[in-house]
Symmetry: C2
Subunit: 189 residues, 2 copies
């Protein structure tokens, strides 16, 4: 398990991709920042694109696992919905590099990614359904529910990550949580 070189690249990539974007990061700078030779780099990765994909998987795994952990803490759907909205924003604020990379770069297509997404949505859906069953949440299709739930928070984060708005405050985050609940609760299929 001696993945020292590989990990060095990924750590450096996280910072460089976050700051300068994937396109703005040259391979030599990435190598320079990670202290890795050409040969070593291509030993671990097929190319730049594979670094993107690996990093994407790593970041999204972190995000999704924290997301699910947070979600599971809540029995009450109203609390859960608001909590996850707050979680999303706070996660972006606490991991700006990872978030910028995840949410402002075009996602790569890799199959591991779709696999993880499937699992993730499965978890969320399970939580959702238990509450639908009890009549607390409407039976929206998952996509609609998802965008109503997290779309505003996501858009807010993107604006912040792009430097277009100041850091969101607690009251603003709370407002998004309450609004998400109203948006979700009111509609019936």
């Amino acid at each position: 398990m001696t993945e020292i070189g590989r990990d060095k690249v990924l750590r450096a990539a996280l910072e460089l991709f976050g700051r300068d974007g994937v396109a703005g990061t040259t391979l030599s700078r990435l190598r320079q920042a990670s202290g890795v030779s050409v040969g070593s780099f291509y030993h671990h990765f097929a190319g730049k694109e594979e670094v993107v994909e690996a990093l994407f998987v790593e970041c999204i795994a972190l995000y999704q696992s924290a997301f699910v952990t947070e979600l599971r803490r809540y029995e009450d759907p109203r609390e859960g919905v608001a909590a996850v909205v707050a979680f999303h924003v706070r996660w972006c604020l606490e991991h700006p590099d990872r978030a910028r990379f995840l949410f402002t770069e075009r996602p790569p297509g890799g199959s591991e990614l779709t696999e993880r997404n499937r699992a993730f949505f499965g978890e969320v859906l399970a939580w959702w359904r238990t509450h639908v069953h009890h009549g607390a949440l409407p039976e929206l299709d998952l996509v609609t529910a998802f965008v109503l739930w997290l779309g505003p928070a996501q858009e807010l984060c993107r604006l912040w990550l792009n430097g277009e708005i100041p850091t969101p405050g607690n009251d603003q985050i709370a407002r998004l949580g309450r609004a998400a609940w109203r948006a979700l609760e009111g509609d019936q299929r």
Copy 2:
């Protein structure tokens, strides 16, 4: 006003950037697709990045002007809010190349862009305020209002543009419009 070469590049870039992304579009393909020589290209643009910026400005100008036109058609705030949500999604469906470029690429920093954005938000804000004044809409700060209003639609479009979900249907769009209204209306500063 003989911008023939320049325009040929922009038209080709729209298609190529939309399909393959900025990073995936090489300069030679862009030149080949637009039938423009190296010299001609660099006569009109300082480099690839400037093409991105010019195209971005062009696309966002189209989008924003259509947005404002649509918005102005509505006196009733509830109708206006829902109509603009629908407009946003339909605009993406009707101009997938432009939308993909605008909403899935990292926005460039140019000053003309911030200028246009300022003007645009000014227009929207004006509409918003007239209704706040009449008590029909809450006095949210513009950012919060904006993400609540269009965040879900925007996220839905992004998912579609990335090929992750099927084409949104009319009922789904209408639902987002009604939900946006509930999200906005309920909250007071």
